[in-house]
């Protein structure tokens, strides 16, 4: 696909960026008197009206409309499905877990997604995966049997996460988006760090950890796992080109690691903010919206539970605009 064919989509995106929440809007949200006041600010900015006081409804509606907007603007939406494909794997994970734990499924399903949620639920309910798209079929079968035969929720997650990381990178290649590739490499690396540390803390064997890490990022899987099991700290094993800063957070709090990852994604997205051709500007906008929505979720959840403004300010992520 010619990069210039994205001119229409990117011009629409630039016009829409004006509607995104800026630093001042975020300050207003943080200092809002109450949850309801914060929601009012959002609805004034054009966000959907909340449904039964649920913060997540607003955020999901906003994210869905952002995806809808991108998919109707870009010349070939299938190329940009890579930005939401992770939700299909998350939904598969939720469907398998919910089936065997009798949890209400709806609240765990993530939108927007490529494969309809009902299709995934039906496949998992019937234990028959032939109707699922090719990218889900094999890992769904494997993960389902890992759960039913070995009763291992963790193994199920690992199978799905690994398949997801590998497929995301192949999608990024297909979309010819260097930004998407960078983002997926970074998130795969962060996910591997978390997996290695979780395997140590839950007493899994080193071999289990080696099988669990995706290896889709830039990190050396065996060096990472060895460092985690030798209690040497992960900083040295994480020093891959382009991920130098990650080493600072590899041994610390998971919350800080996630926050660093989110901020780095936004920083990378900002580098493509002035592109006028190619898919990267559309990808950057979507990740910018994700950052915005994540901030709104953090603020609304904190407001609902009475967290002080100063604490909320420390938790919010960097903004795209």
């Amino acid at each position: 696909m010619r990069e210039t064919e994205y001119a229409y989509a990117i011009a629409r995106i630039r016009a829409n960026e004006l509607k995104m929440l800026g630093a001042q809007d975020l300050e207003r949200l943080i200092s809002a008197e109450s949850y309801d006041a914060a929601v009012r600010i959002l609805t004034d900015k054009g966000w959907a009206q909340p449904d039964a006081n649920s913060a997540y409804d607003i955020c999901e509606a906003e994210l869905e409309s952002a995806w809808q907007f991108i998919s109707e603007s870009v010349p070939d939406r299938s190329l940009l499905e890579a930005v939401i494909i992770g939700n299909d794997f998350a939904n598969l994970k939720a469907a398998i877990k919910a089936k065997f734990s009798n949890h209400p499924l709806e609240s765990y399903m993530t939108v927007p997604c490529v494969c309809p949620v009902e299709k995934i639920i039906k496949a998992v309910d019937e234990g028959e995966f032939a109707d699922l798209p090719d990218y889900l079929k094999d890992c769904a079968y494997e993960a389902y049997h890992a759960y039913t035969e070995k009763q291992s929720g963790q193994l199920t997650e690992i199978i799905i996460d690994k398949a997801c990381a590998a497929y995301k990178l192949s999608c990024a290649d297909k979309a010819q988006s260097s930004l998407l590739k960078e983002i997926h490499t970074l998130t795969a690396a962060v996910s591997d760090i978390k997996t290695a540390r979780r395997c140590v803390s839950t007493g899994k064997t080193k071999q289990f950890a080696l099988d669990a890490v995706s290896g889709s990022g830039k990190l050396d899987s065996s060096a990472l796992v060895n460092a985690a099991y030798d209690n040497k700290g992960l900083a040295e094993a994480v020093k891959a080109p382009g991920l130098e800063e990650l080493a600072e957070y590899a041994d610390g709090d998971f919350t800080l690691l996630e926050m660093y990852c989110d901020n780095l994604i936004t920083k990378k997205a900002k580098e493509y903010k002035h592109e006028v051709f190619g898919p990267d500007a559309a990808v950057a906008y979507y990740y910018g919206k994700l950052a915005e929505i994540k901030n709104v979720r953090i603020i609304l959840s904190a407001k609902a539970s009475g967290v002080p403004d100063s604490v909320i300010s420390q938790r919010v992520r960097e903004l795209y605009v």
Binding site: A7, Y8, I10, A11, I13, A15, N16, L18, V276
Partner: protein, 161 residues
């Protein structure tokens, strides 16, 4: 018909086709971006239209060169002058600046104009600057036009002398 006339006409065709093709691609490219902005905010139509028109000038310049050439060699009047192959090649060469620069500059001007459309989308009050950025590329199309015209008139003067 002599080889000379054939070379000269080929030059005119190239000038018109190069400028025209570049302009068609360029205007179309900016049009896509302009449509994107107008979809979101129809009030910006006037500002993006100016940007869309800019890469269209190379097509006009190419047409002008072709028209002048056909007049100079008498094809337009129905009585072509006799040209040697060397004279025909001189006319052909005179048309090349417009053919090549017209095509290339139209594409690059379109890219600058698409960036300008992004400026208009976010800061409509700065649309004048967006137009200037795109218009700067025009300089080189105008220079190519002048060179082609000067070369053509001098060739005709030398032939008639």
């Amino acid at each position: 018909m002599s080889f000379g006339i054939m070379f000269a006409i080929l030059g005119g065709v190239l000038a018109a086709a190069g400028g025209g093709a570049g302009s068609a691609i360029g205007v179309g490219r900016v049009g896509r971006a302009a449509a994107g902005v107008v979809t979101e905010d129809p009030s910006k139509f006037g500002k993006v239209l100016i940007l869309q028109i800019l890469p269209g000038t190379q097509g006009l310049y190419g047409f002008l060169i072709a028209f002048l050439l056909l007049t100079q060699i008498g094809v337009m009047g129905g009585s072509p002058i006799q040209l040697t192959a060397a004279q025909g090649l001189m006319y052909f060469a005179a048309c090349l600046p417009m053919a090549i620069c017209g095509f290339v500059s139209a594409l690059h001007q379109a890219n600058a104009a698409v960036s300008g459309v992004s400026i208009v989308a976010k800061r409509p009050e700065e649309s004048g600057k967006a137009i200037i950025f795109a218009a700067m590329v025009e300089t080189y199309a105008v220079l190519a036009l002048l060179i082609s015209i000067l070369a053509m008139f001098n060739i005709t003067a030398n032939i008639n002398a």
